[in-house]
Amino acid sequence: MADAPTQIPVTVLTGYLGAGKTTLLNRVLTENHGKKYAVIVNEFGEIGIDNDLVVGADEEVFEMNNGCICCTVRGDLIRIIGGLIKRKDKFDAILVETTGLADPAPVAQTFFTDDDVKKRTRLDSIVTVVDAKHVGLRLEDADEAEEQIAFADVILLNKTDLVSKEELARIEDRIKTINPFAKVHHTVRSNIALDKILDRGSFDLNRIIGLDPDFLEGGHDHHHHHHDHANPLHDEEIRSLSVMLDKPVDAAKFSDWISGLLMAEGQNILRSKGILNMDKSDQRYVFQAVHMVSEGSFTGPWPAKDKRKSRLVFIGRKLNEKSLREGFAACAA
């Protein structure tokens, strides 16, 4: 009897040009961590460093479903992971480096889309390296920089030695406005204990909630008092919103509502995640989506001490708070 195949955790490493991604990658490759990684990097020949395997990728993004731009995936990742899972010598984890200008969505969507990739791997977390000195400017002029923060589960706020304390607080505040749910670490030269970024299970909500009970409690109304330069948030900027429901949720109503919502607004909603108390189950239902591509499953019993309430968060542009709140409220059983 063959066991169900184990799912290899995948960490996606993003960050704008010069943020310190390569430094971090080199640390993973050279540090004596006793694990075997397959590292998928851009335009790089396949070479083994110690125990690890480095594979070059081409970042080939294509549109599924005859050109739906919300269903873009990385074909090269499907191909490479398809090859890696055939190897006899297995890996403890896979690390995917993206280029500085990459939108993280196609990478994340790949892990929701392809049957083989879904069966053999799981997206562990998206780690974004942010250059504390230059991120302010980047956020003004590059959508990708903002999206990389929005998609992150873990953020390395790097080069903190190059900015003042006040500046750092302001930057962190700006990051929290975009994505209050990511764990932020302050680093210099990408120096961080690797267990803070690898095999975290960050994409898995259960784990995050276990670590930080306030996760998902954070909201759009995060204070902005450090914004001393007059630049009010406008609709094109990414922000986050969380909605809550004390009553149990009707599974069919929720499914209809969320699929309709993501169909209509999936281009603006970058990520959504939630934990739901479905009316006919004792299990926690965990939902997550990247743009229009979503998945949900019952993941285990509610911890006894937990209040069984349903929480859903959205990160995106042009979020209509009233309609999201009302829509979710209408899913009550």
Partner: protein, 341 residues
């Protein structure tokens, strides 16, 4: 250790099952030998005349075999690996380096015996190793599949947003058959008029070259993974559903027609199909390890191997006489069935 068993169902067969510790990536027959490529880099040769004999193991690659095809001479196989090597393996234990692309993966290989042509691909580039020399063909994105037409004159190369058709004998640019999306495995119909691609999104796309007609074949619940034309080209059999899907290619092709479905085996999707070279008979392997054979039509197919191991069938091949069948699984299980009873 080999295990022998008697197959269930109507058709009697002797089945020998072996287990290896590596993923079965691809399998083909060439002459009396079956060649099987594994995730441990080995190409194993199985003698169809003596299925009890231990297969010959040839350590062809340092990493995993990524693709395998029958080579030019009977009994020989061409393989591409993630060690950047294109290898030729054959009896008694020949292992010969054909080409090498250091630090790259050889994603696909194919060969055509009569024209003496070998082709392999690395990323966006396909390389033809022909009688007249070596030719490198560039494509806009990574190559998803390679197939030489039955006459050995044209090479089809799939990539994003279409398929490029190259003439093997003459220099010149490709004719591009366009269709949006990611195109993977390719097949030519036996008459050479149709080119079919398996797409990433649970569908097939086809082109009829004589009149540039397009055809979309959709409705699959899973990845199609595998396809094969029946012997005379009447049907294109595919995986991707809980029964074998057979698209009719007689009387004007599959456009606007429903496919024939047969060979349901409990609900698991078909992951590999192989067409018998002598008769209009198909073999199908399922995600739950079941293997069955049958004729396209409503008759119940004969179940020949019940996959006790429950691992997905990843590769299948018939011998040229069509009376022996090999099936390999992702957990390294290898069945060989002999129907000469």
């Amino acid at each position: 250790m080999a295990e022998k068993g008697e197959a269930a169902g109507k058709r009697r067969a002797k089945v020998v099952t072996r287990k290896y510790d590596a993923y079965v990536v691809a399998a083909h027959a060439n002459g009396r030998l079956f060649g099987v490529g594994f995730g441990d880099g080995a190409v194993r040769l199985v003698d169809s005349e003596n299925i009890d004999a231990d297969p010959t193991t040839i350590a062809a690659h340092d990493g995993a075999v990524l693709s395998l095809a029958p080579d030019i001479n009977p009994g020989f196989f061409l393989s591409g690996g993630d060690d950047g090597k294109v290898m030729r393996s054959g009896p008694p234990s020949v292992s010969e380096l054909i080409a090498e692309e250091k630090g790259r993966w050889i994603d696909h290989v194919t060969a055509h015996a009569e024209s003496g042509t070998r082709v392999y691909s690395v990323g966006k580039e396909a390389t033809i190793l022909g009688k007249k020399g070596t030719r490198k063909l560039k494509h806009p994105t990574a190559v998803g599949g390679l197939a030489i037409n039955p006459k050995g004159k044209r090479l089809a190369v799939s990539h994003y947003n279409g398929v490029s058709l190259w003439w093997l004998g003459t220099e010149g640019s490709a004719t591009v058959l366009e269709w949006k999306g990611s195109h993977l495995n390719l097949a030519w119909s036996p008459d050479g008029d149709y080119v079919i691609s398996i797409m990433q999104e649970n569908s097939l796309h086809g082109w009829r070259l004589s009149d540039n007609e397009h055809m979309r074949m959709t409705g699959y619940g899973a990845k199609v993974r595998s396809m094969a034309f029946t012997k005379r080209g009447h049907f294109l059999a595919t995986g991707g559903a809980d029964a074998i899907i057979c698209w009719p290619f007689t009387g004007g092709g599959p456009m606007g027609r429903a496919p024939l479905e047969f060979g349901y085996a409990g609900g698991a999707p078909v992951t590999a199909v192989a067409s018998n070279p002598k008769h209009d008979v198909l073999a199908a392997g399922f995600e739950d390890g079941t293997v069955l054979i049958g004729q396209p039509g409503p008759a119940t197919p004969a179940l020949i191997v019940m996959g006790e191991n429950k691992a997905a069938v990843t590769a299948m091949a018939w011998n040229p006489d069509g009376d022996r069948l090999l099936a390999g699984c992702e957990d390294g299980t290898l069945h060989v069935a002999d129907f000469r009873l």
